[in-house]
């Protein structure tokens, strides 16, 4: 009976625009990273990353009428940064995020517009790409480092898909990538204490091909 039900659903959706099984797409946007607080003998500061552009790709599979799964990759341009009241220092950097999310859609497959909530997890690779030097600014709070660090990541988000044509979707979404702060890239100076969690808020707009 179950098998029959699914077959009926597949048949029913064959002629509808959003009734396909697979979806491939790309998106672009920006990353807005929150900073962690720094307390040190030298004073108070914040450490984290500068805002930067983001781009990514995704491949999704419709699992159920209201549920789909997606594998996401995002490249995030995010320079390292330490700011105090009077000064700041930066160091070139970027990040790669790869994660799998489950999307819970508010309307059934085939609807012209679908809203969704996403929840998933993956890995984020932070990379410090600036040139090491005997002196870099803000070293009283932390040390910018040319290295990379991989962190487990939680992904939370929401968005909207809108059908532009039978095989083309417009997609607007928002993600919060949550990781531990990568102290390998900004190593706390002796005596400095850093906040633990880093949020990377990434709004993106993209298109996808469904088949």
């Amino acid at each position: 009976m179950r098998t029959l039900g699914i077959s009926i659903l597949l048949l029913a959706s064959a002629g509808a625009g959003l009734a396909q099984q697979w979806e491939l797409g790309g998106a672009g946007g920006a990353g807005f990273l929150s900073n962690v607080s720094v307390s040190s003998p030298a004073g108070a500061a914040t450490a984290g990353f500068q805002n930067g552009f983001a781009a990514g790709a995704f491949a999704g599979q419709n699992l159920y009428p209201h549920l789909s799964g997606e594998l996401h990759y995002a490249y995030l341009q995010s320079n390292l940064q330490i700011k105090s009241a009077n000064s700041s220092g930066t160091f070139s950097g970027n990040a790669h995020a790869i994660h799998y999310d489950l999307l819970l859609h508010t309307s059934r497959r085939g609807s012209r517009t679908q809203y969704f909530a996403a929840l998933g997890g993956g890995l984020k690779v932070f990379r410090g790409t600036g040139q090491p030097a005997a002196f870099l600014p803000m070293s009283q709070f932390g040390y910018f480092t040319q290295t990379q660090a991989m962190k487990p990541m939680a992904s939370v988000g929401a968005g909207m898909k809108h059908s532009l044509s039978p095989r083309m979707n417009l997609r607007v979404e928002f993600r919060d990538y949550i990781t531990a702060f990568p102290t390998q890239l900004i190593a706390p100076a002796p005596g400095a204490k850093y906040g633990a969690l880093l949020h990377d808020f990434v709004p993106m707009v993209g298109v996808s091909y469904v088949f």
Binding site: Q131, P132, A133, A134, F135, L136, P137, S139, Y143, F144, T145, Q146, T147, Q184, A187, A189, P190
Partner: protein
């Protein structure tokens, strides 16, 4: 150069007539004989030819510039005296000097040869043409014996620009008279052909012309002609070259600007019958010249002079004398000159392809001391400036000086060994000349001055080497600086008043004589013996300002500022006034004018007179070697005293702010009446400087001492100074310069600078104070300040009364007596880098270890013994690194980026790290203490260190002395991939004794 100037606008030129009468070793190069006497040359670069006027054979020789062969000869009319090629290369214009007795005006002519078709035209000038030069507009500027002409080669029209009295010499001439002596004139143009300069000599004086066909300013005409008549002493030959932009020219030994001001003249030049010539290389900033001087000798020499102030940069032996025009080709590679045999070709642009030899150091100082009488070694580098391998020999006949090797091939390092015992009887510093020579070098290398100082315990001061002839010293009254005049190199050296290090060099004009600071303390003014200009610098920016122009024929030798007037003693060759006159300087307008009188006195003094300003601006003392003294009173703005109480005067001269004056050994009161006489038994007067109501005085070397310094209080009726012997003798007066200013107390009263044999000597302000004996309290290594020390390591010795003043030295080898301090370990002298009252930095000799005893000798006495232990090895890493605002960093460098290892530049696997340390002990081969480590062979540490990072052994690639450094070792290590990472990973160097520091490691 004396001159009377007149500008002749071209519009008026034709109307003017005779009113413009002149009021005034190995050989370098190839000689091309022409079988006659050359009178002029012209270069035709488009055809690769040099045209040579063969004056006596009536030919134009055509020489190939490719192989310097005479390809053909053009027979022309009699006595071709001058040549010029048109800018487009179409015409060759020849001026024929036909001034025969009896006269035959038809022989005075121009031959115009069209070089494209070899057609010729002849134009009779009437008067003998002396010189010719094509201008950029295609016309030729011609000087005859009576006029200046413009000649259009296309139309053949000759236009008179100006006429003047007859310059003519007549033919026939006496035997052995060169054509250029007969013609006695020359014309040259700037590279763009817009400006022509001419010089003509009528036997009594010279006329210098400047003809411009280009507007040079908003109010200048399109075409202008100016002229000046001079009676120059010494007399310039008519050898003329013009700067590319036409702004100045070189006339014989004179550098003349567009307004005919004598901006520089070659020192010690003398009249020459026929030898001499010059060519300006603007782009290279040099002048090639042969100028006959009083001590030239007979061998022909080409000098390469700095274009701005005629400083001699190089001297080259050439095959024969230059006797006429010199032309540099447009590539600035080949210089063609008229010479004795005809023409000489000098490949000046290829100098680096010829053998030359020079010593990198002009002076080397060898300091013996009262606690070290061992043989001292110094090293001299002999090189070929072109980088070639050139044979050389170097020698000295002085006993006690050994040179090894005494000959060789460049580049080479020569060891100069001096036995101080051979100089034990000498007072102060003995200067020994080391003569450098080469059989193949084309240059004439300068000798090296070996300075041997043998300071005794009762001698005061620290010697600093400054090369050259030093003529004056002046302390800045508001800045912590002092200024030293380096006369032979034409520059003012600016020294820091704390470190005594040179911080700037200000280029002057030729032969600077004396400095002055304006009364507002803003400007430094320098007078010259061989320039009509006094140079001015803003002392805040050290930027040169517009120079002060003195009247023609006035050479400002001595300058002084009062509160009212800025006065200068000028050597005066105009014949108006005495041999020396006093000019008043108007600094805002940068001009000077001769005072009509000195108050009620004639403005006629000795040219060697000097001025001494009172610091409060109230007066200026004038002292003359003939015994005359005068006083300018600023309040009255005139000269109020003139006396002659002495038959001669010389040596020191000074004025105080309290109506006291000093000249020679004589104290003078406010009316310049002698009020006291200073002792002369210790030597002749050299330097004196008032400080408030008293003064410092130095006297020159005598049998008993190398010169002494004493404090003088002129207000005391009984002058009873306490002389102190100096480390070396102050400079002595000479016949040419009878007065000397050799003493400059610094404004902050920290030290006194005395110009002395080697350069200058610094004496602490309290040089004569009673000094307590020194005390030693600790010895640490100089790297991290901890106590383990080892042979060859750099150390800091701590205590009190260790030196009367702070002195750091860059002298190599390091001196074993610095200032007045002498440190020994187990009786072995310690080379020192720095001395101060509380700290001495030095190097432990390599041959002492174990239980050690240190003693220090100073003018205050000898310290108690200080006992400490010298370990075989005691590595310690320097903490002297800096990065941004960070200081005190360990001196470990990542080869990857050549920056210090820090938390932001962490160590990574596969890095090569260089660690700079001291205390690694003896080396193989051994290196003498105080000497920099050689680079070949490298001196390896006998006890090889192990280095670990986080417990992981690192590959030690090198451990030994750092080449070029004294007492500094370096350890090069390779970091393997298995080192642990972390923010604080221990790096340990172990040589039996170990040192550890924490570093950041990142993968």
């Amino acid at each position: 150069m004396r001159s009377k100037r007149f500008l002749i606008p071209i519009a008026l030129a034709a109307a003017l007539t005779s009113a413009a009468a002149p009021a005034t070793a190995a050989g370098f190069g190839t000689v091309v004989p022409i079988g006659g006497h050359a009178s002029d040359i012209a270069l035709d670069e488009s055809r690769g030819l040099l045209y040579i006027a063969n004056f006596t054979a009536n030919r134009i020789e055509v020489m190939s510039t490719a192989d310097f062969s005479i390809r053909s000869s053009m027979n022309v009319a009699a006595q071709p005296g001058a040549l010029t090629v048109s800018p487009d290369g179409q015409f060759l214009l020849i001026a024929h000097f036909g001034n025969y007795t009896p006269p035959d005006p038809s022989k005075n002519s121009l031959t115009l040869i069209n070089l494209n078709d070899n057609t010729r035209q002849t134009f009779v000038t009437g008067d003998p043409p002396l010189g010719a030069a094509f201008m950029a507009n295609g016309e030729a500027f011609i000087v005859t014996t009576t006029s200046l002409l413009r000649f259009d080669p296309v139309t053949g029209v000759i236009r008179v620009l100006n006429t003047f009295a007859n310059l003519a010499s007549t033919l026939p001439a006496p035997l052995a008279t060169f054509p250029t002596k007969v013609i006695a004139a020359a014309v040259s143009t700037s590279a763009d052909g817009n400006f022509a300069y001419g010089v003509a000599d009528n036997g009594a004086g010279q006329a210098i012309y400047r003809y411009a066909i280009k507007r040079t300013g908003p109010f200048s005409p399109d075409e202008s002609l100016s002229a000046i008549g001079v009676v120059a002493t010494p007399k310039p030959l008519p050898r003329l070259s013009v700067a590319a932009d036409g702004s100045w020219s070189m006339v014989g030994m004179y550098r003349i600007d567009a307004q005919a001001n004598d901006t520089a003249q070659f020192p010690n030049a003398v009249d020459s019958v026929n030898v001499g010539g010059n060519a300006i290389d603007d782009k290279g900033g040099v002048i090639y010249a042969q100028i006959v001087t009083a001590n030239s000798g007979t061998a022909p020499v080409l000098s390469i002079l700095a274009a701005d102030n005629l400083t001699v940069e190089e001297r080259l032996a050439i095959p024969e004398n230059i006797t006429g025009r010199s032309i540099l080709d447009s590539a600035r590679k080949v210089l063609y000159t008229v010479s004795d045999s005809g023409v000489m070709v000098l490949p000046v642009g290829s100098l680096n392809q010829y053998h030359r030899v020079a010593a990198l150091q002009r002076d080397i100082l060898v300091s013996g001391s009262f606690c070290d009488r061992r043989v001292i070694s110094q090293y001299l580098t002999v090189t070929d400036p072109g980088g070639g391998h050139t044979d050389f020999s170097i020698g000295s006949n002085t006993t006690g000086v050994t040179i090894s090797p005494a000959s060789g091939v460049t580049p080479a390092t020569v060891q100069v060994q001096v036995d101080p015992n051979a100089f034990q009887g000498a007072n102060g510093t003995t200067a020994v000349q080391l003569q450098l020579s080469s059989s193949t070098a084309v240059n004439l290398p300068l000798p090296v001055r070996l300075l041997v100082n043998n300071e005794d315990v009762d001698q005061r001061g620290t010697v600093f080497v400054v090369s050259g002839a030093l003529a004056d010293v002046l302390a800045d009254p508001v800045r912590s600086r002092f200024y030293v005049l380096q006369q032979d190199l034409n520059q003012v050296l600016v020294f820091d008043g704390v470190s005594y290090a040179q911080i700037a060099a200000l280029r002057t004009s030729t032969t600077p004589t004396q400095m002055a600071i304006s009364f507002d303390r803003r400007y430094l003014i320098v007078g010259h013996d061989n320039s009509q200009l006094a140079f001015v610098w803003d002392l805040d920016t050290l930027e040169r300002q517009a120079p002060i122009l003195f009247p023609a024929g006035h050479y400002p030798r001595s300058i002084a500022a009062s509160g009212k007037a800025l006065l200068a003693v000028a050597r005066n060759i105009t014949g108006v006034g005495g041999p020396g006159v006093i000019d008043r300087v108007d600094l805002p307008t940068h001009t000077a004018t001769q005072l009509s009188s000195l108050g009620i006195y004639e403005n006629s003094i000795s040219a060697s007179s000097v001025l001494a300003p009172a610091p409060n601006g109230g007066a200026i003392l004038v002292a003359s070697p003939d015994g005359n003294v005068l006083l300018y009173n600023a309040n009255a703005d005139t000269f109020t005293v003139s006396r002659k109480d002495f038959s001669r005067l010389g040596g020191a001269f000074a004025a105080s702010s309290y109506d006291s004056f000093l000249v020679d050994n004589h104290l003078l009161n406010a009316s310049l009446v002698p009020s006291g006489t200073l002792q002369s038994t210790s030597g002749a007067s050299s330097g004196f400087s008032f400080v408030d109501q008293w003064g410092f005085r130095t006297t020159t070397a005598a049998v008993t001492s190398p010169g002494v310094m004493e404090r003088i209080d002129p207000t005391q009726s009984n002058v009873s100074p306490k002389p102190s012997k100096m480390a070396e003798a102050p400079l002595v007066p000479s016949t040419a310069w009878p007065f000397t200013r050799t003493l400059a107390p610094l404004y902050d009263r920290s030290a006194i600078i005395s110009l002395s044999t080697s350069g200058f000597t610094v004496l602490p302000w309290n040089y004569d104070a009673a000094v307590a004996p020194p005390k030693l309290s600790a010895v640490t290594n100089a790297a991290d300040g901890n106590q383990p020390v080892a042979p060859g390591g750099l150390i800091s010795v701590w205590g009190s009364q260790m030196s009367p003043t702070n002195i750091a030295t860059k002298q190599i080898p390091l001196p074993t007596a610095l200032g007045s301090s002498c440190l020994t370990i187990n009786g072995v002298p310690v080379p020192m880098l720095f001395v101060s009252p509380q700290q001495i930095n030095g190097q432990i000799p390599f041959n002492v270890d174990g239980k050690a005893t240190m003693t220090l000798r100073t003018p205050g006495g000898i310290s108690d013994n200080f006992y400490f232990t010298i370990l075989p090895a005691a590595p310690s890493v320097f903490r002297s690194g800096t990065a941004g605002p960070e200081t005190g960093l360990a001196t470990m460098v990542r080869a990857q980026n050549n920056q210090l290892v820090t938390p932001t530049n962490p160590i990574r696997p596969n890095d090569i790290i260089t660690i700079y340390a001291t205390g690694l002990g003896r080396t193989s081969p051994e290196v003498d203490a105080g000497m920099p480590a050689p680079s070949d062979p490298l001196p390896l540490a006998v006890i090889v260190p192990t280095v670990t990072l986080g417990g992981v052994p690192l590959d030690v690639m090198y451990a030994g002395l750092a080449p070029g450094w004294v007492g500094v070792y370096q350890i090069n290590v390779f970091v393997p991939g298995n080192v642990p990472q972390g923010l604080s990973v221990p790096l340990t160097i172990n040589q039996g004794n170990s040192t550890t520091l924490n570093v950041r490691v990142v993968k």
